[in-house]
Amino acid sequence: MSAGDCRAELVLAERRGKLSSVQRIALGNHLRVCESCRILRSHGSAFDEVEGFEPSDAHRLDSMISASERWLEQPRAIARRPASKRASRVVFLAAILFGTAAAATTAGLVVRSLTRVPSTAVSTQAVEARAAHSPIQSSAPNPVGPNDATVGESETPSKVTQLAPAQGEPRARARSNDPLARPSQTAPQLLQQANSARRSGDSAGAVRLFQKLQQTFPTSREAKLSMVGFGSLLLEQGQSAAALAQFNRYLASSSGQNLTAEALYGKGRALSRLGRSSEERATWAQLIHRFPSSPYVSYARKRLGTAD
């Protein structure tokens, strides 16, 4: 039989684990003559092997829920087209401003050339104006030395320098990568930033943000949700006891939470690493009992078979 002319129900049933002993014999006989099914079996099962769940999957599920919440917040009827309209408006306005600025510059050059203003005076005014309005530029090293004879002129830069940190600090913070520097975050924002930091590999930043979220908004839904993601992160970092505390806090926070299966999964893994076998077994049994269709059940069963 050539490739492609077989519907391969037996192979697919085998991949789903729904093959009876009689069907298994039939499949063996069929595979001897059907190249199409041999290819499907070998290449399809290669994908079945990529099934395992990982400790960070609770965090991923959390992120997917956050993404769906962001989706809910967006006015769906507007979609993307108005965004492009907004973008085109911005471009249009920018073009107008650019055109105006270019015209003003040209006019200024013409006027300047006509009135023959000394170039040094113009540049000094320009520098002073920039210094007065730009804390970043003014905070740059002052080219005028302390022993410069024009002490009177140095007052202006020094005043600007005094002002510079106060004005420049927020901007410098905004530019920095420190996720904690962002002012007045809400609980959803902190959770999102913590998850982003974790995704980008900034574990230390994620830990700080998770802690800040739980300290600042201890009773928020996000703080409760974060316990599972934070616990998974701690587990990845080898802090099994701290991770266990997070999972336990989540499980104790209230019953019927959305991530209870994930919290139990994390708790079981933390207990496994701490060598607390009897508690681990109880956790896996609880997970199987309460969430029999959970994707973590196969892992729990494996652990029950291997846990001491």
Binding site: S42, V50, F53, S68, R199
Partner: protein
């Protein structure tokens, strides 16, 4: 948006009996936050598993693509007419999202399975040879999917990656069974040609039998 989802009376009885997620999906399509959350919680692991099958376990964009798949699913709920189960629909959306992401970042993927080899699975670890053979098969398949026309690639991916039958693919893609069969035949023939051209993979295939 919500109107496109079938009411209970429009849904085939088999699906109505078995698909507990349909009511949740219907409410989610109407923008109900609890329903959206419940739906994502239910289909999330399957979406993640599907994305992982295509991208590999350690892909840098795994999280982002999984989130994109969830958004794509929520956007697509309005077009869902109950042809398949909600779970199958979610897996299909995830598969298409992941395949698109893979095509977009194709040149980064060659590193994926190397990392996968080092990090995946604590229990019942297969031998390195088995892992290597499976990895090569996946790569052969995924590269072929990158190159095939989209309808053929989708049918082949649903069949090979998600293990769906011809009937399920026909239901899910709203295409006649004969069309699906024809697409699968074309796809399998292309795969066979690819395997024959790559003697190393063909040898691995023979060894696995």
């Amino acid at each position: 948006m919500a109107n496109a989802l079938p009411s209970s009376g429009d849904v085939p009885s088999v699906i109505r009996r078995t698909d507990e997620l349909l009511a949740v999906a219907r409410e989610a399509a109407q923008g109900s936050p609890p329903a959206v959350r419940a739906l994502v919680l239910q289909v999330g692991p399957a979406v993640l598993a599907t994305v992982r099958k295509v991208l590999g376990s350690s892909h840098a964009d795994l999280d982002d693509v999984a989130q994109d798949a969830v958004i794509a699913l929520l956007d697509a709920l309005g077009r869902f007419r109950g042809e398949s189960s909600v779970m199958t629909f979610a897996r299909r959306i995830a598969l298409l999202t992941a395949l698109a992401a893979r095509r977009k970042h194709a040149n980064r993927l060659k590193y994926l399975n190397v990392v996968w080899l080092e990090t995946n699975h604590e229990l019942d670890e297969p031998s390195p040879q088995t892992i290597l053979a499976a990895k090569r098969r996946r790569e052969t398949m995924l590269r072929l999917l990158d190159e095939l026309p989209e309808p053929t690639a989708e049918a082949l991916a649903l069949h090979f990656v998600l293990g769906m039958t011809v009937e399920e693919i026909a239901e899910s893609t709203d295409a006649p069974e004969n069309t699906v069969w024809s697409r699968l035949r074309l796809g399998k023939q292309a795969l066979r040609r690819r395997l024959c051209a790559n003697s190393r993979t063909a040898n691995l295939l023979e060894e696995a039998e």
